[in-house]
């Protein structure tokens, strides 16, 4: 009976709509006047790039389902068709709000701060001259206009490219011809103009410039109308791990029906000429629900470029310097051996408050240490010019056995991944591309060292990718340890990943897709049992997304039994909190702030013997069933305490945290007249203070110490 009880569609949110709510929270940050102006522009740009990916993957997948004749409702009871309709409604509203915010609020605010968005018709003579030259010398040579007529079919329009469509006709003919030209992606879309007398920055958008001079592209023709447009295509990339198995089979059966690369969204200017729109809609087979008429510029991802403009530091977050944990330091530098430090005790790091430098130092030291036999590491997404890759290559060149497990299929990053994978191979690393059908998502570094009394393993386990750039703005956690059992487990996992061995039994780690789901369910059920026996029971879990039906059921059961459950979920949450007798003990908050919340932390009260785990996995079927993920315990008391503190600090956030209501809406908590508490800012200052306490050279602290003596 209980089983059926939790199957009710009413108890769940649809994951796509929940995701759109997350994007809306990003949009709210763009709206928030307390955020610095350039950060607001950046949030606005993120809203756009998020939507792009959402359409290419999620909407595309739903369209595939509809085309395959798959009508099974999701956990919230919506068929793919119904989901598409709901997404379209919500996304249209969001895009309207986004462009209105840009035009009505951010543009005037930017102008007030000396940054003007101009249009070519509104320039002084010096600027006009500059622009004309810029068009003729820089833009014009890279333009490739294409016309459609009986001998030339509709051209292939690149995914996510911005284009200008035009209706033209020969001067003597009556026939209208459709022509299109891509706004070149090799040039910056934002063109900075020479300033005015007031010293303001002034920019124009390239599509406006091309439109202004479009006649030069079609000499001998009359240009009837022009308008920018943009299409998004089905990326058809990462479907496999996203969807349920029965769906995959269904799609496989009707593979022919699947439209690879079909256009799934058309964005046009709201004033587009009807004739032009008709051509585009027909050629791209776009229906009204996939058509987005936008007032103002299309594709605000370009605002990210603005962020790097010189001279606006005061309009961004004050700079933050990540701290190196004092355990590693000796006289302000990395101590004699990072291995001795780790050997002495497990060291916990929390990025970006703690610096990513120890992770780099770990690999670099291993590369140079003569007693190191082997280095093994998983790489999912790394930065362009990654110091990790450089250190691994150096190690291989120094004759170490270096095994790197590269996940090529990290979304939309394939090409980049292949490049540095090649570089590693050339250096002599043993590069492996993982197991067929299972993305390697766990984050592990294993260093094998030969020491006086035996072979010793040093391990770093993390919640986020080995990416020094994102480590500056993603909150992630990591643990350095020399625990023998964890070392043996890490070795076994690498042997599995390299194909040397079959899934082994592990001592301390749980790993997907083998034991992780069971382990999570067992940990939740243990709390449920404790609560049923009248003992205190509590779960705090922090992650990016909660989608998995089985886990949600277990949480409902736990809540019903009286377990206090706090969930800190940045993105999608299909669980519905505060349903009487089902989830009244569950509280869901989402933090969207300066840093992207990314760590996955799991706390269980366990009748007083508290347990804390970190993981690379979210509570999503793809993480639990179709990826290699690990869950690892944090056992040293001080580390455990620090993590529990972080969870409580996050739960007390009243500035960037929003609470999920049973209606699916997220609302900020009432502060009852108190000063808002920003958990990320608090953690920054805490880190700085802790680091300062470690440097007695600071005058005040030195004085205080003297007095105390």
């Amino acid at each position: 009976m209980t089983k059926k009880l939790y199957k009710n569609h009413e108890l769940y949110f649809n994951r796509e709509l929940s995701w759109l709510e997350f994007n809306d929270r990003v949009l709210q940050e763009a709206r928030n006047k307390l955020n610095p102006l350039f950060e607001r522009l950046k949030f606005l740009s993120i809203v756009s790039s998020n939507l792009d990916e959402f359409f290419m993957v999620r909407v595309a997948s739903l369209k595939d389902q509809v085309n395959a004749g798959y009508h099974k409702p999701d956990i919230a009871g919506l068929t793919p068709q119904q989901q598409l309709q709901a997404i379209s409604d919500r996304a249209h509203k969001m895009v309207r709000e986004q462009s209105s915010l840009f035009r009505r609020s951010l543009l005037p605010a930017a102008a007030g701060k000396g940054l003007r968005f101009n249009v070519p018709g509104n320039l002084n003579s010096e600027q006009s001259l500059f622009l004309e030259n810029y068009f003729k010398e820089i833009i014009y040579p890279v333009l490739t206009p294409m016309a459609v007529d009986s001998s030339r079919p509709f051209p292939l329009i690149m995914n996510r490219s911005l284009n200008i469509g035009a209706i033209i006709k020969q001067k003597k003919s009556k026939a209208n011809i459709f022509a299109t030209v891509q706004v070149p992606s090799v040039l910056s879309r934002i063109i900075e103009l020479p300033g005015n007398d007031a010293g303001d920055h002034s920019v124009v958008l390239m599509e406006d410039v091309i439109i202004k001079y479009i006649r030069l592209l079609f000499t001998g023709y009359e240009v009837i109308c022009t308008s920018p447009y943009r299409i998004t295509r089905n990326a058809g990339l990462t479907l496999e791990e996203e969807e349920a198995e029965d769906l995959l089979m269904e799609i496989e059966k009707s593979l022919k029906k699947r439209k690879w690369g079909a256009a799934i969204r058309l964005e046009v200017d709201h004033e587009i000429d009807d004739r032009l729109l008709r051509v585009l809609k027909n050629a791209l087979e776009i229906s009204d629900e996939d058509l987005y008429r936008i007032t103002g510029p299309i594709d605000l991802t370009c605002l990210m470029r603005l962020y790097s403009l010189d001279g606006f530091r005061h309009l961004k977050y004050s700079s933050h310097i990540p701290q190196i944990p004092p355990e590693f330091l000796k006289d302000g530098e990395f101590g004699a051996s990072i291995f001795e430090t780790i050997s002495a005790k497990d060291v916990f790091v929390h990025h970006p408050f703690d610096s990513f430098e120890p992770v780099l130092e770990f690999v670099r030291t291993a590369a140079r240490d003569p007693d190191v036999l082997a280095i093994k590491q998983t790489l999912y997404r790394v930065s362009g010019d990654s110091p990790i890759v450089a250190a691994l290559a150096e190690a291989a060149e120094k004759g170490k056995q270096v095994t790197v497990l590269v996940e090529l299929k990290a979304r939309f990053d394939e090409e980049n991944n292949i490049n540095w994978a090649k570089r590693l191979e050339q250096a002599g690393c043993h590069v492996i591309y993982g197991l067929v059908g299972l993305k390697t998502h766990c984050k592990v570094i294993l260093v094998v060292r030969i020491e006086e009394d035996g072979i010793k393993r040093y391990i770093h386990l993390g919640t986020g990718n080995y990416n020094d750039i994102t480590a500056r703005f993603y909150t992630d956690m990591g643990l350095f340890t020399a625990n023998e059992q964890i070392g043996a487990d890490a070795s076994a996992i690498f042997n599995l990943l390299t194909g040397y061995s079959e899934p082994p039994d592990l001592y301390r780690l749980e790993f997907a897709p083998y034991t992780l789901r069971k382990a999570f369910l067992a940990l939740i059920d243990r709390e449920t049992e404790n609560a049923q026996c009248g003992r205190k029971a509590k779960i705090i879990a922090k992650m990016n997304s909660l989608v998995d039906g089985q886990i949600i059921e277990a949480l409902y059961k736990a809540s019903t039994a009286g377990v206090q459950i706090d969930l800190i979920i940045r993105g999608i949450c299909c669980l519905k909190p505060a349903i009487p007798d089902i989830s009244d003990n569950i509280n869901v908050v989402s933090i969207v702030g300066r840093f992207l919340e990314h760590s996955r932390v799991f706390y269980f009260y366990n009748d007083g013997a508290e347990e804390v785990y970190l993981s690379s996995a979210d509570w999503m079927p793809r993480n639990l069933d179709r990826r290699i993920e690990i869950l690892f315990p944090v056992e040293a008391l001080s580390n455990k305490k620090r993590i529990i503190d972080v969870l409580h600090i996050s739960l007390h956030d009243t500035s960037k945290a929003r609470m999920l209501g049973p209606d699916g809406k997220y609302r900020k908590r009432s502060m009852r007249g108190q000063k808002p508490f920003n958990s990320q800012d608090y953690l920054i200052s805490e880190g700085v203070l802790a680091a300062a306490a470690m440097h007695p050279a600071e005058p005040e602290i030195a004085a205080a110490t003297d007095r105390d003596l």
Partner: protein, 517 residues
């Protein structure tokens, strides 16, 4: 940096998987596993049906071995042994396979006899089963069901009573019966009948022994322990409650193949051997109803590591040779041997061997082979007095002597074969088929046993003590005798010839007669 440990490795290529264990051994004998790997490869299905290993399977094997080699070089392991058992051992093309593995991977593979494999594996048991000694004293039955065969060993009062290999293995059953499986819907009855008909005699033999403890080992054990024991953690020894074992048996009998794969989350090749393994073990579980089933998580790779470690430092609790001797004696008993004569020949052989070390230059391991030959040299008389040495040879050759390689067994058997009238000659195919080193060893041991046997030609143990003096290129054997050993003296002289042929010295027997009181 002075290192206080060694890194060793053992590799096994069995019928259904390839395993490797890398371990470090500290100078005080502590063994710690560093890496443990297992990769399924179905070599057995090739051999058991077609008799050959396919080229495809060979390539797959080499790919895995190359990876293992990579890991060996990662740990800079120099000291390792790689053994092929089961499927490769029985394949008609095994020489080619071993050669190709060597060429493709650089790994020298030794083809290991069943007895040697089991013996090495059992050497590792004390490391994972702390109460092994106690269990052996109380009476212990070890059922080791591999994919190709099952080994039954019983221990009473600490020593091996009996060991027997039966060609019924979990994978072999499936391969052998695969044709019949399509003709019945009642697979479990077919399997049961097949297993019963192969194990019936063993049952009778075991009935006489008190064996309250049960250890099960073999390829299916890992799967069974995984299904019976929770949580899945890498333990050295898992203990299975017989009740949950029986429950699993029932599930496996009643559920379809697909259901087992699905519900138990087993890969197909594991589900395949689950039921036969369970049925084999259940036969022995029902015999003695032990309170708990011990499943040491061991493979040959553990045994190899322990063996290699034993060469480097003193290990604790290693008996070893005694098992081969105690089971030789039990075998001789089975053939109603003349115990007194046998003991005389055994002791005389040992005395001669020990005294003539400078002459023969052989090792203690060779002395073990001599002893086995001596214990069983007349066992063939049970079959026929005429040409009994021929039957003694066959008995040893087909015996299950723990720890002996196939080559060693051949030497021990030759010792028995040529102990009396016949001397080795190139015309005997089995003798000339041995490799030159083994042939020489066998000849030396034969020369010794012939003298030892001659000293009790009358089977009356007239000679009470033997002393050997070697000086001035002479071998003088001084014996005390209660009555005149005329027959012995005559036999000695005729056997001395072969001794001279082998060692270049003619032994002389000197008798000091004890005066009867």
């Amino acid at each position: 940096m002075k290192r206080k440990f060694f890194v060793l490795a053992g590799i096994e290529i069995s019928s259904h998987d390839i395993r490797m264990r890398i371990a470090q051994v500290s100078s005080d004998g502590e063994i710690k596993t560093v890496e443990s790997l297992r990769h399924a490869v179905q070599l057995g299905s090739d051999t058991f049906t077609s008799g050959k290993i396919s080229f495809q399977a060979l390539l797959e094997t080499c790919d895995i071995l190359k990876q293992y080699k990579h890991l060996l070089s990662e740990y800079r392991v120099k000291n390792y042994r790689a053994a092929a058992t089961g499927a490769i051992r029985e394949a008609v093309n095994r020489e080619y396979i071993v050669d190709q593995i060597k060429i493709k991977t650089g790994l020298a593979i030794e083809v290991m006899s069943n007895a040697e494999k089991r013996f090495l594996t059992y050497r590792a048991i004390p490391y994972v089963l702390p109460n092994y000694g106690k269990l052996k004293n109380e009476g212990l039955l070890i059922v080791d069901a591999g994919s190709a065969s099952t080994q039954i060993s019983c221990f009473c009062r600490g020593s091996l009573m009996h060991t027997q290999n039966l060609k019924v293995g979990s994978l072999r059953i499936r391969e052998v019966l695969s044709r019949l499986e399509t003709q019945t819907t009642d697979l479990k009855s077919l399997l049961k009948e097949y297993i019963d008909c192969h194990f019936d005699r063993t049952e009778v033999m075991l009935h006489k022994l008190i064996l309250p403890n049960l250890v099960i080992m073999g390829s299916g054990v890992r799967i069974i322990a995984g299904l019976c024991c929770n949580p899945k953690k890498p333990e050295n020894v898992k203990m299975i409650d017989p009740e949950s074992f029986i429950k699993l048996c029932r599930d496996a009998e009643n559920d379809s193949y697909g259901k087992i794969t699905r519900e138990k989350g087993l890969p197909a090749h594991e589900a395949l051997i689950l039921l036969p393994s369970l049925l084999i073990f259940r036969k022995f579980l029902e015999l003695n109803n032990p309170p708990v089933i011990y499943t040491p998580q061991l493979s040959l790779t553990d045994g190899i590591v322990v063996d290699l470690a034993g060469n480097l430092c003193r290990l604790r609790g290693q008996a070893g040779d005694n098992d081969a001797l105690s089971s030789s004696r039990r075998l001789a008993e089975k053939y109603c041997y003349d115990q007194k004569h046998s003991e005389f020949v055994e002791n005389a052989s040992i005395t001669l061997f020990n005294s003539l070390r400078k002459l023969h230059g052989l090792t203690d391991r060779h002395r073990l082979l001599l002893e086995i030959g001596a214990i069983l040299h007349d066992a063939g008389k049970y079959i026929s007095i005429k040409s009994h040495y021929q039957y003694s040879y066959q008995i040893i050759k087909s015996a299950e002597l723990p720890g002996l390689s196939m080559d060693e067994l051949e030497i021990a058997a030759s010792v028995a074969r040529y102990h009396s009238s016949k001397t080795p000659s190139a015309k005997d195919i089995s003798f000339s088929g041995m490799n030159p080193g083994d042939r020489l060893t066998a000849a030396k041991l034969i020369a010794i046993i012939r003298l030892a046997d001659a000293l009790d030609k009358s089977h009356k143990q007239k000679i009470s003590s033997i002393k050997v003096e070697t000086a001035n290129n002479e071998v003088i054997i001084k014996v005390d005798a209660a009555e005149k050993p005329l027959l012995e003296q005559w036999a000695f002289e005729s056997k001395a010839e072969f001794f001279k042929e082998v060692f270049g010295v003619a032994p002389v027997m000197k008798i000091k007669r004890e005066s009867a009181l």
